[in-house]
Symmetry: C2
Subunit: 185 residues, 2 copies
């Protein structure tokens, strides 16, 4: 059974972007990391799988992604959660648009995947919704050794504590990569 994985970079103090919202500081491991970091990044593109993101992430990124999506020439299908389909979409693109909420998007992603894992990308909003709904299997946190002190929080809601189980810890100079299973999930 394919797993639904929420993957993102976070500071030591739980911020997913700084006050100045410069993404480089938290995502440097992906661009300037070592071989271990690059192996982590490769795992984030699920062979035979699919990806899910929110509409904001899509709108911000589609100018760079073009028709191929975030995985470039791997052309992994990307399901975008949205209220309505965009007016224009690149021809022959990897995207599909789910207008029926997170469960419909999950079903669409499973349909489009070939048995591989499903990875949630982009900001934390979509991942939080799947976690709160009990649909998430794993969270991968790339913990970057910096205190940001301010910015956008990984979690900032009153939904109650969610226990996790640590299943892998990989340390590099650029980040400590934690793979966690939702406890009981």
């Amino acid at each position: 059974m394919s797993k639904l994985i929420f993957e993102l970079s976070v500071s030591l103090d739980g911020y997913i972007s700084g006050a100045d919202s410069s993404p480089e500081r938290l995502h440097g491991w992906a661009f300037r990391g070592d071989d271990t970091d690059r192996a982590m990044l490769d795992k984030a593109w699920p062979d035979g799988g699919a990806m899910i993101c929110g509409r904001n992430t899509y709108d911000l990124s589609v100018p760079q992604w073009g028709a191929e999506g975030p995985s470039a020439n791997k052309r992994i299908p990307l399901v975008v959660i949205t209220h309505s389909e965009p007016a224009e979409v690149p021809a022959n693109a990897v995207y599909s648009f789910a207008t029926g909420g997170i469960e419909a998007a999950l079903k669409e992603a499973r349909d489009r995947a070939e048995g591989g894992n499903l990875v949630i990308m982009g900001g934390p909003g979509v991942g939080r919704q799947y976690l709160r709904a009990g649909l998430l299997d794993e969270v991968v946190l790339h913990v970057v050794p910096v205190f940001l002190g301010a910015g956008t929080r990984l979690f900032d809601d009153p939904g109650g504590a969610i226990g996790m189980e640590t299943i892998e810890v990989i340390r590099t100079d650029a980040a400590t990569h934690l793979r966690l299973r939702v406890a009981g999930g």
Copy 2:
């Protein structure tokens, strides 16, 4: 040269206590952890060193600590940062009271230590002040595998980002223990 170390437990999403402020969830590794967790805890009591805390931590804890302080029969000196000395102090106690701010407390702790490390304990306020003042050498974070979603944040101030260098990562079931050096510090 002895090091000044700020040591505390934190959730995956950067909270140092939950909304219901039940401390057990974040400190369980210290009480119900394995041998590796207990070795981490032993290192937190600095042989030949001293400890520093704020007045709130002292007031809350002195009824349990008695004259011996948090390290019990190890009797490690504890310097309390305070505006004024308390009216009553247990006889023959390990405490001293620094009324001249964090630098005076640091000097007092170095004077009372026998060359060992100095460890900041208690809530995050005191540790943050030393970090912002550039006086801190290391931070030890006991990252507990739980999303709390709300509570008291490790960092929540506009003081700007502080880069750290990861010097040790130890994983147990109960926590991932990160030892970090203040970059350039």
